[in-house]
């Protein structure tokens, strides 16, 4: 068999076998092969060489893509994938994404279980449609594969956002409030630690000064009464206030506390704060993730709608270019460009 004829029939065979049962594809191929061989034989009888006759027979038959697609279309394998069919599923999805949430937003009260519904259904459509396209190995494999991936990711996000965390968009505001409260509690703990650290440094400084001037330093476990203390800060409310080197007239509660517990107190306070901080940070982090996710899900409808519109336009453009390409190839075959 001439190599041109062999490769031509091979290409038709490949396309037919993808979508038709092997016996049916084989039957078509056999028939086309016989047709070509008779056509070649006739031309050879008329005086053409085998090569020239083969070229002419193949040219008359038309491009392998068109012949195979014609047969597939006759078997309703390609006909059902018309532009409209391809376009209407994404259009339906876009419509669902745009219309249903708006309609549901008008419903009061919205049952909790109904909220994720507009997200679940189109996502299922996307997955099934894409899967069907991939199974039938259509030309639009790339955009459909992208759509499939988008659909799958969207579906996972749906589940995580609405089922896994148990949050709804409605509780988003409450969560933000809780986060602010946590932050203020942490700030308070931090200020306590700072106050303790300042108190210690003031105590150390005061003790050193008292020792230098031969004054009595405050003693642990000793209660100072008014006027009996060794020295006292001028302003008890301020831990950063200056210390005066004179006997205190009143008991310094803060110093007494300090002298009782010393470093142990400050260490415990610091450890507690670090612990609290770690717990709250972890909590905040997970809740922030959930909040981001829920916030994202709020805008999700629009996002997926836009993505799908893009894919729809892509599909249509792809089909348009595909049609033009096939038409051009067909014309070139008819003019014998490939001969």
């Amino acid at each position: 068999m001439d190599s041109l004829l062999e490769s031509y029939l091979g290409r038709i065979s490949k396309r037919l076998r993808r979508s038709l049962p092997a016996t049916v594809a084989e039957e078509h191929l056999k028939e086309i092969g016989l047709h070509l061989s008779e056509s070649i034989a006739d031309q050879m009888v008329a005086g053409k060489s085998e090569r020239a006759a083969t070229i002419e027979a193949v040219r008359r038959m038309g491009s392998d893509v068109l012949v195979a697609d014609g047969i597939l279309r006759a078997h309703s394998k390609i006909g059902e994938m018309s532009v409209w069919r391809l376009a209407r599923v994404p259009s339906l999805i876009v419509m669902l994404y745009c219309v249903v949430p708006v309609a549901m937003g008008e419903m009061r009260p919205v049952p909790e279980w109904l909220i994720p519904l507009p997200l679940y259904l189109p996502t299922c459509f996307v997955i099934f449609f894409s899967y069907a396209c991939l199974r039938s190995r259509r030309v639009l494999v790339l955009p459909v594969a992208v759509a499939f991936a988008v659909g799958l990711i969207a579906f996972l996000i749906d589940i995580m956002a609405f089922s896994g965390f148990g949050y709804t968009a409605r509780s988003h505001q409450e969560m933000r409030l809780m986060l602010r409260q946590n932050q203020s509690q942490i700030a308070m703990l931090q200020s306590q630690v700072e106050r303790g650290a300042n108190l210690k440094s003031a105590y150390v400084e005061g003790t050193a000064k008292a020792s230098r001037f031969g004054l009595e330093a405050p003693q642990p476990e000793r209660t100072y009464t008014s006027g009996s203390g060794p020295w006292l800060p001028v302003d008890q409310t301020s831990v950063t206030s200056r210390w005066v080197l004179q006997p205190a007239s009143t008991v310094d509660v803060a110093v007494r506390q300090w002298t009782k517990h010393g470093d142990e107190y400050l260490t415990a306070l610091k450890a507690d704060m670090q612990n609290q901080l770690a717990i709250r940070r972890r909590l905040l982090s997970s809740r922030l993730d959930a909040a981001t996710l829920v916030g994202y899900a709020g805008n999700y409808t629009l996002l997926v709608g836009v993505v799908w519109l893009g894919i729809l336009i892509w599909n249509l453009a792809f089909l348009g270019f595909g049609w033009l390409y096939r038409r051009a190839v067909s014309r070139m075959w008819q003019r014998g460009r490939f001969a």
Partner: protein, 115 residues
Amino acid sequence: MGFKTDAEALVLGALVAGPRHGYGIVKSLREGSSGLFNMNEGQLYPLLQKMQERGWIKGEWEMSDSGPARKTYVLLEEGQKELANRREQWKRFSSAVGGLLLIDEQTGKAEVSHG
């Protein structure tokens, strides 16, 4: 030619004379029309498939002692009815087109004979 060819009717017409295989149909159309209907052969097999599904024709593999088996197509009763229907349509169409396109020619002839 500016008129759209009814390929289905032509194939049905080619099978009236008796069973034919794909190449035979194309050849008979080409030869019967003196090369005017040079059908794109790649279009024939999808067309035959469709016509089989509609029940107009039937394809059968015919064993041959001299060469490989060939698939021949036979016109069925439904196909004959469809062909009769298409013939009627064609008569009306050709008559209407003839009435419009050939009127000047007839008038011209009449003028010549009077002149």
